[in-house]
């Protein structure tokens, strides 16, 4: 099963269209950008929430402001790296390197996109039997899907495997 259908076609359209225009003009033309799509569904069984380790994956660009490098949010071609931080991280220890969304809401209340305390509460209340203490974070401005496939996803899979998770909640910003 392919992660991205027609990968070679997508890459050619990206490199000859959006990327070529950007390199020539220094400007974005999103009419030239091909959004990835799939035509087949993936079949997998559901999980028992009481007995399956869950991990949170966020694209809000969150990082530990005192210990980690921020994402390269000023890079027009995106940042494909990930950060990890504990689920138990105090919310005021995080900062967000991602300028493709307004930060008004997250500055008031980080749980609008990063529900660390809510997940702990759901675990304590019994809905979630097991929680990974590792949160995966990346900066969701990633126009090059091939780099997502070759850089971001392998890093996420490696962490997911190490953490022995059975389920993941994805919250794109």
């Amino acid at each position: 099963l392919e992660i991205l259908k027609n990968r070679d076609q997508w890459q050619a359209e990206f490199e000859n269209g959006w990327l070529a225009h950007y390199r020539q003009s220094g400007k974005f033309d999103w009419k030239l950008y091909t959004r990835p799509k799939n035509t087949t569904s993936i079949q997998n069984p559901g999980i028992d929430l009481s007995n399956s380790r869950l991990m949170l994956i966020s694209s809000a660009g969150g990082y530990l402001k005192d210990y980690q490098q921020p994402f390269d949010f000023k890079n027009d071609l995106g940042d494909y790296s990930i950060r990890q931080f504990p689920l138990s991280t105090p919310l005021d220890s995080l900062a967000y390197a991602h300028d493709h969304y307004k930060h008004d809401a997250i500055d008031q209340d980080p749980q609008v996109v990063l529900p660390l305390r809510h997940l702990e509460d759901l675990h304590n209340e019994g809905l979630l039997g097991k929680l990974s203490d590792t949160v995966i974070s990346f900066m969701g401005y990633q126009p090059d899907v091939i780099r997502v496939l070759e850089e971001t996803i392998p890093a996420v899979i490696e962490t997911a495997t190490t953490e022995k998770i059975r389920s993941a909640l994805l919250i794109p910003v």
Partner: protein, 79 residues
Amino acid sequence: MARALEIQGIATSIISWNRAVTEPIMPPRAVYTKLDRGSVLGRPNDPVQQRRVLEAGIRQLEKDSPAESIRLNESIKTE
């Protein structure tokens, strides 16, 4: 990313305010809202709304994929 995780046997659920972008990638399990970029789970300082959206996304994980997506009427407008 969801598909890559599913291939590893990891069930995934996605919570999205942007159904027009998310739906074409055919995520295995999804919850769509009328919220906004930067306020994916709800209004700031409204933990009740945030929990409603979050729990809907988590509950999707119990379903076999491809699961019928859920559309919530949650928005940033105050009730």
